[in-house]
Amino acid sequence: MFALEFPPINEILRWREVAPSLNKVGIIAVAAALIAIVVFILATRQDHRKAPTGVRNFAETTVEFVENGIVMQTMGRDGLGWTPFLLSLFVFIYLCNAPGIIPILQMPATARMAIPAFLSILVWVIYNGAGIKHQGFGGYFKSVLFPPGVPKALYALVTPIEFISTIIVRPFSLMVRLFANMLAGHILLVTFALLSEALFQARDKVLVPFGVLPMFMLIFLTGFEVLVAFLQAYIFTILTAVYIGGAVHPEH
């Protein structure tokens, strides 16, 4: 009726390569890393004795958010050594999510599987490594596979579940959560943008005014995506903190 041609999903994820093997997602990832590094360099350049302003204030607020909102809430004081890793994770994911709503870019780099997969595998390696380092190989796997306080007979049931949930489901859900949230948001924005465009250009002039409805929805969803971009970065980081905390201190 509206002659709405929705492009296949591959179409809205396809980007020409700017340089050999460097496409938009790669550019966004590199830009995210560069922006973070530049912001932190500018922040460290400022005189630290004065009250922080501008970039330094921003960087310090982020650091304090990660310290107080993520590390202290999940790992406690012992986990403060993990702050730099969690901070870079948070900042990188946020800066990869944010282009989803920035005009011209309009593509969250995390809506492609590559970056979430890389990060969650990295997190998997790190929390298993931290657990093995702190409790020894046997101790770590004992605390993971045979959690204390479970009746002996139940181990037949608990151990496979724990193995699957800790070793397989955790990185998978971490990866899929970030990827699917961002991809769903991206598809939603594309859908409403296409809908309002189709209505604005409808051959039947009666339909043209109705184009503002999906447009308002688009604006609302863009605001929602701002929240989602932040929330997904926060959730990825806090789950990482929980996993690392659990691997390092199994009694908690």
């Binding site: 591959n10 360099i41 460290t44 890793f85 890389f118």
Partner: protein, 201 residues
């Protein structure tokens, strides 16, 4: 072994070709066309993106972990320590000032007590002097008054004796004239004393 290649052209025409596996002519061509159209797989991670994303994250994480974060954190800690030291020194200064104020107030109290004592002493001497003066004055007044009283009573006594003498003379004369005989002086005197006591009432 044969492979059936079904091509769909136009409205209703379906072409079916049976191709031997060895020829392998048709299949790659179709795949190539599809590959051009389809774009990337929406789920599978792409190698180049994995490479770029992973590389940039690792570079960033290393830079933050080993250079930027420690520097920033050190600055923050320095500033917080500085603020805390400033706070403490300010508190020490406040305490010192408070001690000074307490000392000053103590001195003030002492001075005030001294002043009050002096004022009291002065007031006491003043009071005693005044009392002495008043007493002296009062005694002088009392002496004067007793002198005057004595003079007055002496005069009154003299008057009274004169009057009594006069009246007794008169009464004696009058009685002498009327009775012809001089009355007893004691009787006259008693009568006069009675009359005067009654008159002076």
């Amino acid at each position: 072994m044969l492979t059936a290649v079904i091509t769909h052209r136009g409205e209703n025409s379906v072409q079916v070709k049976l191709v031997g596996q060895s020829t392998g002519l048709v299949t790659p061509k179709i795949e190539a066309e599809e590959g051009q159209d389809m774009g990337p797989n929406p789920i599978a991670p792409e190698g180049k993106e994995l490479l770029w994303g992973g590389l940039s994250f690792v570079v960033m994480a290393v830079a933050i972990r080993y250079f930027l974060f420690p520097k920033l954190k050190k600055g923050m800690d320095d500033r917080y320590a500085g603020i805390r030291a400033d706070h403490e020194s300010a508190e020490a200064t406040t305490a010192a000032a408070r001690g000074d104020v307490a000392e000053y107030e103590k001195a003030l109290v002492a001075v005030r007590a001294e002043a009050a004592a002096k004022v009291d002493a002065a007031r006491q001497t003043l009071d005693s002097e005044r009392q002495a003066a008043i007493n002296e004055l009062n005694s002088r007044i009392a002496a004067r008054r007793s002198e005057a009283d004595a003079a007055l009573s002496a005069a009154r006594e003299a008057n009274r004796s004169q009057i009594t003498a006069a009246v007794s003379a008169v009464v004696t004369r009058a009685t002498e004239l009327s009775v012809g005989r001089a009355p007893d002086a004691a009787v006259v005197e008693r009568a006069i004393a009675d009359a005067m006591a009654g008159g002076s009432r």
